[in-house]
């Protein structure tokens, strides 16, 4: 199982702290960090900031789609993936403004996907037409558009965040990622839907979830219980990429918890059952 940690991106987050936390996670042997869109901040700007100070850890983001033109997200993600030397994971969720408009979110996801392929495309949807072929735009007209540069990764890993959007994920052939409050039963159902729609392709998809990790200032984390819970979800619905969030913990507690996850949780979730010396 791959384990990662969420890094808060708040109004008071300083770049050097963000970078230090990601570097700390990499040094602790974790597989990924994740940055969410919080309070209007741009997770892709934050993600690109991690390119120089980290070398191998994956950097996931959750970005809102569908309020502005999806091509802006597609372009920023490609540039961020290049800045990260091909380590971006793109999570997409509907922008709040969409207010449940699944069709619009679906179209936005399709458009981002088209933009990330390395060939020109045409998109004619209810919401967006690309190229638009507007009457005034006549010079050097092109029939199809190519978004450049392409992401560094040949297929940029893209996940749809949130079980209510499973239908979109299934239709677009994408994995669905659990939010913190979507538990194993919800996700088992969601993945049955994806499997039914995608067949064998579903077997090649990562099964990811955001999960809350209680981290206490003095007591730290309960590594055994955390590992057991993760193994349980793995066995129940196939969880294989867990992003752990330490809500409310101060920075020092988070850094200590990151180290503990690397040292005591991650080794316990690699095999079917933990090796004897790690059994407790």
């Amino acid at each position: 199982m791959r384990l990662g940690v969420g890094i808060p991106l708040g109004p008071d987050t300083a770049g050097p702290d963000l970078v230090a936390e990601a570097a700390h996670a990499e040094a602790a042997g974790l597989d990924a960090v994740w940055i969410e869109e919080d309070d209007g901040a741009s997770p892709l700007v934050a993600a690109a900031s991690l390119g120089a100070a980290t070398t191998a850890i994956r950097v996931g983001v959750t970005v809102a789609l569908g309020d502005a033109h999806p091509l802006y997200v597609a372009e920023e993600a490609a540039v961020a993936d290049l800045a990260l030397s091909g380590r971006l994971v793109l999570g997409v969720a509907p922008a709040p403004l969409l207010d449940g408009d699944e069709a619009r979110f679906d179209e936005a996801v399709a458009l981002v996907g088209a933009a990330h392929r390395s060939r020109p495309f045409r998109h004619d949807g209810p919401e967006w037409r690309v190229p638009a072929r507007l009457p005034g735009n006549t010079a050097n007209r092109e029939g199809r558009l190519r978004v450049t540069p392409s992401p560094l990764q040949i297929v940029l890993p893209t996940v749809v965040v949130g079980a209510p959007r499973t239908a979109v994920a299934a239709r677009r052939g994408l994995p669905v990622m659990a939010t913190r409050d979507e538990g194993p039963d919800v996700m088992a159902d969601a993945w049955h839907t994806v499997e039914a729609a995608c067949g064998p392709a579903a077997d090649r998809m990562p099964r990811a979830a955001h999960r809350v990790l209680a981290a206490d200032r003095d007591a730290g984390i309960d590594a055994g219980a955390t590992a057991a819970a993760l193994r349980g979800e793995r066995d129940r619905w196939g969880l294989d990429l867990a992003i752990l969030w330490m809500a409310g913990a101060d920075r020092r507690t988070r850094l200590a918890a990151i180290e503990a996850v690397g040292r005591r949780v991650r080794p316990r979730v690699q095999l079917d059952t933990p090796p004897p010396l790690l059994a407790t």
Binding site: S42, Y72, A132, N137, N140, E142, P149, L152
Partner: protein, 361 residues
Amino acid sequence: MSEGPEPPGRPLEVGVGLWTLQSTAAHPRHHGVLARQLVDDARLVESLGFDSFWLAEHHFWYDGWCPAPLVAAASAAAATERLRFGTAMLLLPQRDPLRVARTAATLDRLWGGRLDLGVGLGHRDPEFDGFGIERRHRGERMDEALDVLRLAWSTHGTFEYHGRHFDYPPTPLDLRPVQQPHPPVWVGGMAGPALDRAVRHGAGVLLPQTLHLHEVEAILSAVRDRAEALGVPPVRTGILKDAWVTEGDEGAAFADRVASHYREEAGSWWLLKGRPAHERPELLDRQMDRIRATLVAGAPDSVATRLSELVALGIDTLVVRFEYDVTRGLDRDATLALFASEVLPRLRAWARQGSPSASVA
């Protein structure tokens, strides 16, 4: 520089540009390598004592010209400490301004308030069309977008804006950029509407490279007049300059390469008198002549003198352009270092002399 132009008596900002992340036919590069080099280059530029590092933007071209300069800038901002990052230009009318406000504010907040946001109209039909925007609306969109940026950056609660081109229902917003009241905005361009726009919005004017000295003088005078007429404080004035410093004879090679760079770009993209430029080679030639005549290349002394002439007119920010795909074959690091050691200190020392009251701004 014992005699020559009158120094303005205030600090001069000197930046370097323009990083575009292009992999062109003439000078192909792996895009991942370009992304890494951007970071290395920023470190170099900072260590040499320059004030700022400037990126450009375009979309949907074969060479992968960077479509998201603020994201690219973040990677370099993280690797530096005091170097400022500017866009020359971010194509604001092609974008969603509330989104730009968020992206810019994040960069500004994360990295210590080091953003200079230069904005340009954009000119390529396919770029506008890709985003479903009519090119002919670019002026109006620019005006509204500048209002949206300033409003969004200063909102601490609920943001709302209703214009002809942008309509945002009430949204909670508290972006809190570090720089107050907001990151400096520069309007790129030289035509009357661009100057009007800058002054009206309290933005700096960032002039293009290809202006003769007398043209710069006229424009700066026009900017001052407009500010006075509106009863607003004078705005900052900057200029881009294609430049090369060499103690040998690389100057000629530089001029040839720059001309070839612009010839490809202009030939592919520009309309000259309503026709694609590649159909009008004689007009393209004339533009190339102008480029050659207005670039600054040569020994440190002459480069310093020519740049000081601009500063003496009232320019407070220079963005010296050494960085192109086409200069990859020349020793760009050497010219950067030579500029930093021989031109920069002289320019700075000279600019600080004199009294501010003697300056034109």
